[in-house]
């Protein structure tokens, strides 16, 4: 069997794949022998089915090494502070609403995550929900994050009054950016999905945050077909004083409460490590979907990040193998 591996794998080009019958014998022993040979000779055992091994010649390219360093999983850490919200947007990927259970991460866990994030090589923390400003201790959660790393806080910007405005004012402007959701230059489209009057209050929130001296990023969630004609929207954001690089357009995802949108799967998403009260998820867009739950164990954070990277490498290797295995011509 080893002789067959040498001969068959030696006959294909680097990164080419070949199936090699492993012959008769105990499947586990044959698999182990094939794996040992591949490890020793620097080849990649893609899979063993029955008694046939599929081997890729040479070492697999490292998908992590091919990523832009900013996209390396674990560079940014998302935390869902809570899942309840004052709005019930019809496309919310997290299924948040006033009826949703809070499922708060809590100050202790946020603080521990922030601390471990530094050692794990995270360079930015992102807090989202739900609506984080529903939490009475949101300023303390933010302070735990900004004390160690630059932080972004996602909000609908509609609650900057009274004690919540006081909480906003206590946040560290030098370390915190606010990302406020706004879908259109006029109220119609925004209110259609988020509720009547929500556009006007969000715009007011943007102005408040801006006037309070915060860096404000505005993020729109749009159906793919509407993402082409954005000039009026950008002009409106310009008029609000939002810097061009802080005007973010996201495609609507078919996740959570959305009944349409682009399909996002583990295979098609570059992961962004996301923590909720329920565990570690592949990406913030799927933080309420079990199909993208990575592990229930939030701590230690480094292990969670390592596991996400391992799975990403595995998924990409499988995709590469499939791409080579099913040529279209």
């Amino acid at each position: 069997m080893i002789l067959d591996l040498v001969e068959h794998v030696g006959a294909v080009a680097r990164h080419g794949m070949v199936s090699v019958p492993l012959g008769e014998g105990d499947p586990d022993e044959l698999r182990a022998a094939a794996a040992a040979w591949c490890a020793r000779t620097g080849n990649d055992l893609v899979e063993v089915q029955g008694n046939v091994a599929t081997v890729r010649r040479g070492r697999s390219p490292n998908p992590l090494g091919e990523l832009d360093p900013d996209l390396l999983p674990g560079t940014r850490l998302w935390m869902y502070t809570n899942f309840d919200c004052n709005l019930a947007c019809d496309y919310c990927c997290a299924r948040s609403s006033p009826q949703a259970a809070r499922r708060a991460l809590g100050l202790d866990r946020v603080r521990q995550l922030a601390t471990e994030a530094v050692d794990a090589g995270v360079s930015e923390l992102i807090l989202t929900g739900g609506e984080p400003f529903l939490l009475p201790d949101i300023d303390e959660l933010v302070a735990a994050c900004t004390a160690v790393l630059p932080t972004t806080l996602l909000t609908n910007g509609m609650l900057f009054r009274g004690r919540r405005l006081d909480a906003l004012r206590r946040m560290d402007r030098s370390r915190l950016a606010l990302q406020i959701s706004l879908d259109s230059a006029t109220s119609q489209l925004h209110d259609e999905h988020r509720g009547r009057g929500s556009w006007a209050r969000a715009v007011a929130g943007i102005r408040t945050a801006h006037d309070e001296g915060f860096r404000v990023r505005v993020a729109a969630t749009l159906p793919y077909e509407q993402s082409a004609e954005l000039a009026p929207f950008h002009a409106f954001l310009d008029s609000l004083g939002i810097a061009p690089q802080d005007q973010v357009i996201r495609a609507l995802a078919h996740r959570g409460a959305a009944d349409a949108g682009i399909e996002l799967t583990v295979e098609s998403l570059i992961p962004e490590v996301t923590i909720t009260a329920d565990g570690v998820y592949w990406h913030p867009v799927s933080a309420d979907d079990d199909d993208q739950l990575v592990t229930r164990d939030i701590f230690p954070l480094q292990e969670a990040i390592t596991e996400v990277r391992r799975r990403f490498t595995e998924v990409r290797a499988r995709a590469t193998a499939a791409a080579q295995w099913f040529p279209c011509a």
Partner: protein, 270 residues
């Protein structure tokens, strides 16, 4: 800028294309660019070197010996892999065969690789004659499965090993690279054991003729020697070509093969 240095190599596996495209890319944009031509066998490549179709040939040890013979020694070796300076032939038998040395092959069957393979045919006979009972005392089972490529494919050596497993031979002579590729004695426990390893000898080298002056080859060699195992851009090429660094040629390591070729009257164009 001068014309690219044309390097010849033999296409013994599809990987050769990847290797030499990688080499070409490494030299691209430098003052010493190269391109390559692939041949189906070493006889054609040496012909092309002599008639000037290529400037440099990536030659096996037998191709080097034959080039020396056909140019009356006018050719020169430019560089080789570190692994080419310590090549060996390994004699293996079924585990538990109790063959303990070359003398144990007397009146036994020894499987050899292709007749133009220095490591698996020509030098094994030489070693039998000079360090063993003499080739005439051994039944040679020749497996000429990749003639023309000087044993580069490894195919004939695998066939020799299969002959041992199938009890069509009592032992086989293979290159140390094939021995390594099957995991020595470790990955097939109870299958094979090595009972004699030859002294180290030289294997491949880059060969040029005097028509290609040192002013053309030296800048290319300087860049070649600068390839760095620790550089992630260089490493894949070095791994595929089976070396950690390029080194100056060690011509003393060809002495045994020159002698073997003369003794065995190997044809000049093999």
């Amino acid at each position: 800028m001068s014309e690219p240095l044309m390097v010849g190599a033999v296409a013994y596996t599809p990987n050769v294309v990847t290797i030499w495209e990688g080499m070409r890319d490494y030299f691209a944009g430098t003052s010493s660019e190269m391109d390559f031509v692939l041949f189906s066998n070493y006889g054609r490549q040496v012909d092309a070197l002599i008639d000037g179709t290529i400037d440099v040939a990536w030659n096996t040890n037998l191709a080097w010996v034959r080039t020396v013979a056909q140019t009356d020694g006018a050719c020169r070796a430019l560089a080789m892999r570190d692994t080419d300076t310590v090549f060996q032939t390994v004699f293996v038998a079924r585990a538990g065969s109790n063959i303990t040395g070359l003398d144990g092959l007397r009146d036994r069957r020894l499987a050899l690789g292709s007749q133009d393979s220095a490591q698996a045919a020509i030098l094994p006979v030489y070693f039998l004659d000079h360090a063993g009972p003499g080739a005439d005392s051994v039944e040679l089972v020749r497996l000429n499965s990749d003639v023309g490529k000087h044993g580069d494919t490894g195919r004939s050596e695998l066939d020799a090993l299969r002959a041992v497993l199938d009890e069509r031979a009592d032992a086989a002579a293979i290159g140390v690279n094939t021995w390594e590729s099957i995991g020595r004695e470790e990955l097939m426990p109870g299958a094979f054991e090595a009972f004699w390893e030859s002294p180290a000898y030289s294997h491949c080298n880059f060969t040029a003729l005097p028509d290609v002056p040192a002013e053309r080859t030296q800048p290319w060699l300087d860049l070649l020697f600068a390839m760095d195992w620790d550089n992630p851009e260089h490493r894949p090429i070095l791994e595929m070509e089976g070396l950690r660094r390029w080194v100056p040629p060690q011509l003393d390591g060809y002495a045994s093969l020159f002698e073997a070729v003369r003794e065995q009257r190997i044809p000049a164009r093999w």
